[in-house]
Amino acid sequence: MDSFGSDFSSGAGSGKMDTGSIMEQVKVQIAVANAQELLQRMTDKCFKKCIGKPGGTLDNSEQKCIAMCMDRYMDAWNTVSRAYNSRLQKERARI
């Protein structure tokens, strides 16, 4: 991310940032980056699922489909996260 590099180096260059506030800022930026990543992928997937032929407006049934798709995408994300996590636990236990 652009803002990551510039903020980080300008903060360090001034020599006024302590470790705590650097960590705080990095955490916020990571959270923002993750939200953007999710938003982008979700928009892409739900557009594909719900918009057949783009019409003059986003009609009611399309909006309903998008709302449902968003919820299912979150479910899917959480399911994948849990499955990956338990796989990691299993592999750690095996070693």
């Binding site: 180096s9 992928r41 299912r72 994300w77 994948v80 990956y84 796989r87």
Partner: protein, 93 residues
Amino acid sequence: DLKVTYSGVAADPQLQQFIEVESQKQRFQQLVHQMTEVCWEKCMDKPGPKLDSRTETCFVNCVERFIDTSQFILNRLEQTQRSRGSFSETMSD
């Protein structure tokens, strides 16, 4: 003691520890994003009012097989490299 990093920042051990942990978390999250996208294509038909159990099972299997695939490919490449000894040369050509 302080260690100077590539950007010229004198990083204290606490900060280095923090960066290590956050990087690991970020690698995890990135792979979750990637696998969600890949498995969504494989498993999701029309989004319904609920994630049904069949679809959920598909997602779990998809994650397991994706990781298996990644490990299989890594292992096979390693074997190829070991038996031929020329793989790295082929790659760098």
